[in-house]
Symmetry: C2
Subunit: 145 residues, 2 copies
Amino acid sequence: MRGLGTRTVVYQQNVAASLGLYNNDFLSVDILREKGPITAGELSKLTGLATGSVTALIDRLEKNRYVRRQNDPNDRRKVIIVPLYENKEDVIDTYLPLHTAMVTLAASYTDEELALISQFLGKASTVLDEQIDHLSSTTRSKSSS
Amino acid sequence: MRGLGTRTVVYQQNVAASLGLYNNDFLSVDILREKGPITAGELSKLTGLATGSVTALIDRLEKNRYVRRQNDPNDRRKVIIVPLYENKEDVIDTYLPLHTAMVTLAASYTDEELALISQFLGKASTVLDEQIDHLSSTTRSKSSS
């Protein structure tokens, strides 16, 4: 898991560099894609970045048409950040070789084995979510003390 | 895999923040721990960072006693970066809750299931290594053209 984690971080940095994006900008595109439209405050919490940094980050991503700001249809006082991720062919192209290689890897397992692996990856994701919550609250309480 | 990847990056950033380290400094500590002593040039290649940035990064890590520089015993003209990772109790403490949670998760699987999952994670790591090589060579050829 540790080795896979380090490679994941290096891989994501290489994808960001290949697209000409800052690491945190690209990470935010990924988070927005998974979470759907969220506010700048929520993005700040999920990335661990200060709100000022997130504002500049959204400006850059909006300029490059990775996201757009719009009023929340459920609450007009709120502004939400909407991912435009799927439209970006260069992102899809950059991920394509990984996608193809992972499909090939998956094809070497039976459906039953893949179900077990997927279940494990889902549970590992939940563990990481809990750990991120734990760490970010510990860091916040350290810096405010 | 995608969701797990994003969480891994956010988790690592939170660990780095909790330790008061830059993201790339912490990533380099992880890479050094896995690869063992390597030269600054090799670290530059593995992180995708420019050699100048890597020099400053090693200076910071040496100052905080995460690494030390020494002459390569096999080639005295070379300087290698030696990880001092295992000595740092704060790193171990920061990782401990994740380690405990992953051990608990693993305990819910049989030995046979864990062997399958480990094998998959190992193969996925190899896929990522290949993709990192592919991406970094593509980015290099783009920027030199």
